[in-house]
Symmetry: C2
């Protein structure tokens, strides 16, 4: 009966997020990452145009433009015009309402001090930090605390003491498979800073492109790219921009494999004569540098010297992954060389190569780092291992006294959910590892590999999920309430937009292009229930190239559709407690999805590029229908017949087979419903 009542509601239901929702969860507020210690007090600091910041101590230069930008962001959100528009070392203030004190300017480097204390009382905000970098982190916390009620904008009174759990909290951006303009990189740096990440790892050379200007060897970028690469001026600009936000920039030049693009201009570096072309497909290529020639190392010494000078960070990444050795096998010179040197396997040869490179890198006063594959017996202890193949590799490295960072489990290109990434802890309490070895685990890095992303949708692949990874690496290990993470993720997601991140706005743009109109409601509703297939499965549907249009429905879909997240949460809640409000939300959402097919089919018939989702849309309707039937049984407190249950389960199994490279993301929750009915009495 209750069900029928709900069913007659005609208006379209919207799961609505309270505006600037200031949650009751005192320990997490709307903060992401959650600080180490938070004490919520009563009262509020009311924000008005008289807000005045005073900066004291010896903070250096970085803090002034950062504080100015903070004022702008506060102004932009509240539309308040503060009497203090910008800050400089010359700024004199009387009666400040916010005092930032830093003991000394920090250096943006490994193990920089990022700690801060933030004390908000009704009349005064105090932000104390050892370095200005701590102050930057504290300002982001302050911005996340900004909220409002009918009286106006305010900060809740709190005492926060905060510092990161891991010193290395990175985002890798692969600018090779697809290239991104400087402006986009800068916006992502701002976004990283907003969730307290501190390393931008630029993957700069690949089979598909050499993306940085070498002045010594200009053919590298001139012939090794389609014209899209960063000039050294632009790289300096990016590094400077990142430094101003407390973020390190670590360059990666993948070698000896993943090097086709180098060889277009410099085939003499390769194990086989070539000629080489810029890669247009994806996967592991055979191209590999020739370790048998002295010339190779002479060239690399000159190149690395040039790049080591350009990038001030202490760490220098040489990749080292997925060198399949085929071209070594086929090169008489390499084979001859191995025989001469008594090198028996390609692994050993790569070890030889790495040793030579390590010498060059060390000579340039840098620390070498590379992917798992370079971690071979006898590797000098000052090399850092980035684990991508599994946490065990990371643990193994740490146990042997190698510094290591985790990327396995943080592959954000694989369309996994924020939940999965969030629960992937580099050092979970359950991990059996000697206390002494823990210090070698430096943190982790989300990796944005770019086979299937363009400037249009890459933000939606990085954000907001990466904020969950940022929290994993900053906050205490005990912070792992997934539901609360998702609650805060929605708020952070909207705040990311003020920095120019297009993870929400470009999706609707892409829908408008696909449909050729601004009537995208039906497509939007469809997409709100699906996600791209996970892992590397998209490549099994078609042979992707660097020219394949990435403008289809699957390219708009994301792994963490807010509607799906909320739906899943409602289902869990409902199955636990049969809670009324969860029940009606479930039904209304299912009705929206069920009836959407009729509308969407009209569009599909008109738009050839939508034909591929024809049956998926019909199936979404079917799935939603099964969900509604399940709810019917629940509400009537009935158990369906075995045959019905078997039939629906089989149907869902069939529907689960992806088409158009898309999964219907709500199926697991519907399966849970069927399961619950099966087990009901």
């Amino acid at each position: 009966m209750r069900l029928n009542l709900v069913r007659i509601i005609f208006t379209c239901f919207c799961f609505s997020l309270p505006a600037f929702s200031f949650c009751q969860n005192a320990t997490t507020l709307n903060l992401m990452p959650v600080p180490e210690k938070v004490i919520v007090k009563t009262g509020a600091f009311r924000l008005d145009s008289s807000f005045v910041i005073s900066i004291t101590g010896d903070p250096g230069k970085r803090i002034y433009p950062y504080a100015t930008r903070m004022l702008q962001r506060m102004g932009n959100r509240t539309t308040l015009l503060f009497s203090q528009a910008y800050l400089s070392p010359q700024t004199k203030t009387e009666k400040p309402t916010c005092i930032m004190h830093c003991d000394s300017p920090g250096k943006v480097e490994m193990n920089m001090d990022e700690s801060y204390q933030l004390n908000i009382s009704s009349g005064l905000i105090l932000l104390n930090s050892a370095t200005d970098i701590g102050a930057l982190r504290g300002m982001e916390t302050l911005l996340q605390l900004l909220t409002c009620d009918s009286l106006g904008y305010y900060f809740p009174c709190v005492d926060i003491s905060d510092k990161p759990r891991f010193p290395w909290r990175g985002l890798l951006i692969d600018v090779c498979r697809h290239f991104y303009p400087v402006d986009m990189i800068k916006k992502n740096i701002d976004a990283m800073a907003s969730v307290k990440m501190n390393v931008l790892h630029l993957h700069l050379s690949e089979d598909q492109g050499f993306r940085i200007e070498s002045k010594k060897f200009p053919k590298l970028q001139q012939l090794g790219s389609n014209g899209s690469y960063y000039s050294q001026e632009q790289i300096k600009d990016i590094i400077q921009y990142a430094d101003e936000r407390g973020i390190r920039v670590v360059p990666e030049f993948d070698m000896p494999g993943h090097t086709s693009a180098w060889f277009v201009g410099h085939p003499e570096l390769a194990s086989l004569p070539g000629p080489y072309e810029i890669g247009t497909t994806f996967g592991v290529f055979d191209a590999s540098m020739d370790p048998s020639k002295k010339y190779t190392f002479k060239f690399l010494a000159a190149f690395i010297k040039e790049m080591a000078k350009l990038f001030p960070d202490e760490y220098f990444h040489i990749g080292g992954d997925e060198n399949n050795g085929k071209n070594w096998d086929n090169s008489p010179a390499v084979q001859e060389f191995m025989k001469k040197k008594g090198i028996k396997t390609n692994d050993e040869l790569q070890k030889y190569f790495n040793k030579k490179i390590l010498k060059i890198i060390t000579a340039n006063k840098k620390k070498m780092m590379g992917w798992d594959e370079i971690f071979t017996p006898g590797l000098p202890k000052n090399v850092v291992i980035q684990s991508w193949r599994g946490k065990d590799y990371m643990k193994g490295a740490a146990l042997q006294g190698y510094q290591t960072i985790l990327s396995s489990g943080y592959y954000i290109d694989l369309s996994k959910t924020a939940r999965e990434h969030y629960l992937n802890d580099p050092l979970p309490d359950t991990m059996k590892i000697e206390e002494d070895a823990k210090k070698y685990i430096l943190g982790g890095e989300a990796t944005m590999w770019s086979e299937l992303t363009t400037w249009e949708n890459v933000d939606s692949r990085i954000w907001p999920r990466t904020a969950a990874i940022a929290e994993r690496l900053w906050s205490p290990s005990a912070v792992k309430d997934v539901e609360d993470m998702y609650r805060r993720l929605e708020i952070v997601s909207i705040q990311l937009e003020e920095l120019g991140i297009t993870h929400i706005s470009n999706r609707e743009m892409m829908m408008r292009r696909l449909t050729g109109s601004d009537s995208i409601e039906a497509l939007k509703t469809f997409i709100s229930a699906v996600s791209p297939v996970k892992g590397y499965r998209r490549h099994s549907f078609r042979k992707y190239t660097t020219s394949t249009p990435l403008t289809r429905t699957v390219d708009i879909a994301v792994p963490d559709e807010p509607a799906v997240v909320r739906f899943d949460q409602c289902v869990d809640k409902y199955l636990q407690s049969k809670e009324d409000s969860a029940g009606s939300q479930i039904i209304l959402q299912l009705m929206t999805w069920k009836k959407n097919n009729a509308e969407l089919q009209k569009l599909i018939k008109k738009i050839p590029a939508l034909n591929e989702i024809d049956s998926v849309s019909a199936d979404l309707s079917l799935v939603a229908g099964i969900g509604i039937d399940c709810m019917d049984y629940f509400e009537k407190d009935q158990k369906p017949g075995e045959s019905w249950l078997t039939q629906q389960t089989a149907l869902l199994k069939e529907i689960k087979k992806p088409r158009a490279e898309i999964d219907i993301a709500i199926i697991p929750s519907i399966e849970k419903m069927l399961e619950a009915l099966k087990e009901s009495k």
Copy 2:
């Protein structure tokens, strides 16, 4: 009775735009600007992955990357992967389905040949042009012709012969009052090319900022800006980017007024000693260069030489507007100088200044241009006048044999409608002007002054309206069907997004920030019925500064809300013919606006930054209610009483007084309804 029937429709009505709508209007198709000659034939060229372009003749370099980008845009819209992914001079093709032939490479300069012929038949596309620049224009036409039906994507068969009416079709971007990153400028260059504009006029110095690097006088940008300026590398990059799209870049350095920012670093150039600060407010400042010192011209000679070298275009803009002369009056040295030289007025002194500058510019082999104010008796004939104060100034200049371009009527910062700009013809058939003088009217320029725009909303101020101006300047004067212009503008608007223009997507982003959530429907519906107040009125509401947040409702509102445009059209149609479908569209839209207030008020109560629209939202509901009442009378064929009519008219007059710097944009149409009722029998 018909009315009541309509009223009970519960679902929310959407004015929907047909996808890739391929209109029946044979002479304009979906093309903007409309070509000089179009013959629509029967049949279609069906687009599939076998599409292959062959480029013949002697086209130079520019065409290959442009054609590659065209393929990408076609691929992105259709999701087709063409076998031909990119084009280069080395590309060899067999059996091309599209042949582009250019006689010779063009030079991007004044009077470049932009003509082309495009012939589409079912088996072959032929694009012929004298220069590659014509081919670029033709490719944009081809892209605009791309459409689809249930069978797939296609181009309609047409014969098009096209060339521009005016050689100067520009967009001025003021990068001083607010600064825009390189990437945004580039995207706007792409957008300009898509509607066949050919001049980007960069306004580079102002009271509020000096926005370009001078290597000779680095204090100009270092002290004259907040750090936001274009490096010379970046400027070269912009010029190169524009050249590749057939667009000239004309620099403007405004002088002798509008120069405060110069004087922060170089007070010795000023008429009064200073010190000077970067302007933070807007309007006419007193700062002015000192024409009495030789040093001033020595400095400017060196500076102009540097800039003349950097900008390859033949034209060099010196501004020359709004020099109020106050600082000249107050400078003993200037007064002394005037006495000595026998210069009686400030106008004469500015003429003297201009003459000296002209000499410098001419020495650098450039043509000087400036705003109206430099057009004084005795001005050498090789100076170009840009008219901003009225068409009469333009006409006056042309009659005296001066080349001139029109900007009066194209001030896109003033929130006027596309209709107004569209109907502003530099050379209307009705203008009385000697045949001989016509050739001096070179064209026009839309001017994007940036007092009230930031990177977030500037695209929504430029686009899509500027496309209507582009059409005015390219298409034959007879092309002036406003309704058809608006029809095509909606389609072009969505196509602009593929180039990265954020005129649609950033508006929703701004709404999400204002409300702190993704539940923006009520705010969106409200904004769909309003527009910013027109002209300079916003400055009468508050004293704007360069720091004032531009994130309010008025900053999201635009002058040409599609919903308002469509509503106005329906009202016109209905009042003419009482057409049924127009009637029901009107009523449904009015009902949506009327009932929106209840929902929006909930949000307004929660969000302090929305408080200002409280009464406007209530009044929108009232206005919509009046409209519904009017429709009631029309449908019942009744005439309301005089007192009711008087009352409603008075009410609307009252409501017309703007609040929150917003106009309710549908009032004129409601007034039309009342007027029609008043005159009915």
